[in-house]
């Protein structure tokens, strides 16, 4: 059974990728996730300066998924460059996630991380709940996406993954802008919403930031549709993220057109072992359904 895939010439032993913001705070955790079977891992997003993020509660769950407003807490690029050194120890490709409030920030962070052995740079232009970043800074428009991606393109030779929001009706236009600016892959999608959950006894929103991005099962059909549309709209590969926690989900995402699948909330649903389990379930399904190579199911849901 062949599970290995190539995304922008990065070889992944299997198509599962740890999504950014889940467990990617330290090299030790990346290594643990790699040992738990992930084909690649993404670090938690890094900005120029250290950020404390929002107050707690920052992550809660509900019957249909998860709601988070972590607020991009991170130690800043200088500390991150120290933490994420000698990345070959991790054992699988490591993707850097880089954020900024303006395009110069992205460039500075990319430069600051250039000494590390990252395999690709992901730029999420799509966070729905952190003032100054992503959607709240207007980074999700085709023009802003083009500008930021172009700037990052000049700053690095590494493959660039542009991570998009499912909230944007014109997601394909944004993806094309990224492609035109030299992006090598699209990561689809970031969390949706934002949403809000109110504790009715407290009579207050639970998240300290009041609203947060929705992920997990609730997001899956939306993510599948985005990937399905993007697969037709752009030529560069699409990494499908959103609600994947089983082998069946991963296969559905790949049939929609994904070259690899990101897993975030799935770590909550099924533990860190989710990567290994998803791969086992994919293998079993493919065996039972007469496939010998995961690359052969990519995009088959299209006419």
């Amino acid at each position: 059974m062949k599970l290995s895939v190539n995304v922008c010439n990065i070889r992944l032993s299997n198509p599962t990728i740890l999504a950014s913001g889940i467990l990617g705070t330290t090299k030790a955790l990346l290594k643990r996730v790699a040992e738990s079977g992930a084909g690649a891992v993404t670090i938690k997003s890094v900005s120029t300066e250290p950020r404390e993020g929002h107050k707690n509660p920052t992550v809660i769950t509900f019957d249909a998924g998860m709601l988070n407003a972590v607020g991009y807490s991170n130690p800043g690029v200088v500390a991150a460059a120290k933490e994420f050194a000698s990345l070959q120890d991790v054992g699988v490709p490591v993707i850097a996630s880089v954020i900024g409030t303006q395009k110069e920030d992205f460039v500075r962070v990319v430069a600051g991380l250039s000494g590390s052995e990252f395999s690709a740079i992901e730029i999420p232009l799509s966070c729905p709940h952190t003032p100054g970043f992503g959607l709240l800074a207007g980074q999700g428009t085709p023009q802003a996406t083009f500008d930021i991606t172009s700037a990052v393109r000049k700053a690095t030779e590494l493959p660039i993954f542009v991570k998009l929001s499912p909230n944007i009706p014109e997601i394909c236009a944004v993806a094309k802008a990224a492609e035109d600016a030299g992006a090598n892959a699209i990561t689809a999608v970031n969390s949706m919403g934002p949403g809000m959950i109110i504790n009715i006894e407290a009579q207050k929103p639970i998240l300290s930031f009041k609203v947060g991005g929705v992920t997990g099962d609730a997001l899956r059909p939306i993510a599948i549709r985005c990937v399905y549309d993007l697969y037709k709209a752009v030529k560069i590969p699409v990494i499908g993220v959103g609600g994947i926690s089983t082998g069946r989900h991963a296969i559905e995402m790949i049939m929609a057109g994904a070259s690899a699948v990101g897993i975030g909330t799935g770590v909550y649903y099924r533990g860190i072992e989710v990567f290994k389990r998803v791969c086992e379930e994919m293998t079993l399904w493919m065996e039972e359904n007469g496939f010998d190579d995961v690359n052969k199911i990519r995009g088959v849901a299209h006419d």
Binding site: T25, N74, I206
Partner: protein
Amino acid sequence: MIEQPRMVKICDIWDESPSVKTFFFKFDLHFDPGQFVMVWIPLLDEKPFTISYIRNDLMGVSVLKRGMFTNALHNKKIGDMIGIRGPYGKGFGLQTNPDFCVVGGGIGMASLATVVDRLNDATIIQGARTASEILYQKRFKDMNLCTDDGTTGFKGTTVDLFRKLLTRRRFQKVYACGPEKMLYKVVELCRNHGIECEVSLDRYIKCGFGVCGQCDCSGQRVCVDGPVFNIKELSKMKDFGKVTILKTGARVVY
């Protein structure tokens, strides 16, 4: 399970020391000694606290007044509501037979209190800054006390006292909670004496259920893989006793 705070009424408040109060509330879930809850004050913040009393469906958390959140908690009155989610984490591995010792430093004693409740004939070492800060004086008899200023018990640290005790007797198992420097030394002593040991670690907690990565200690998530770790696990955790991680994710050396 859904990870959301449930509002509960504070039904009793005990003064344990000038700086520690215990807040009691009803919460009908099963807790193991060493597990913790997230306590939410709406619009303010949410922080981790070990369950220090388990009496059927009555739970207590003993809270050291320390900063913004714990101050706000200390201002709560009986009848006020707080949010609770949990139980979280892996508690202490309790065995019934062995001759065991708990070593608690400061508010760390709160984690060990339910261990003492469960096991009979515990040897208890408790250390505090000064006599008035000793916790659970009425709850537990015959504690081996020590204080930094010698106002009660042995003058010196819990580590010194533990080392002293070890010269005249042996334990099969030690449970410890307190400042990590202390824990590090307790673990060292236990290793040298061939004593089993479990310690409860403290890292900055956000989600509490293993997804955000905030509470990392060398690849172990304190919130779900811990907070209790045994010697074998700790021996692989390089950060133990040396490095902790701030809210930003920055590493700081102790």
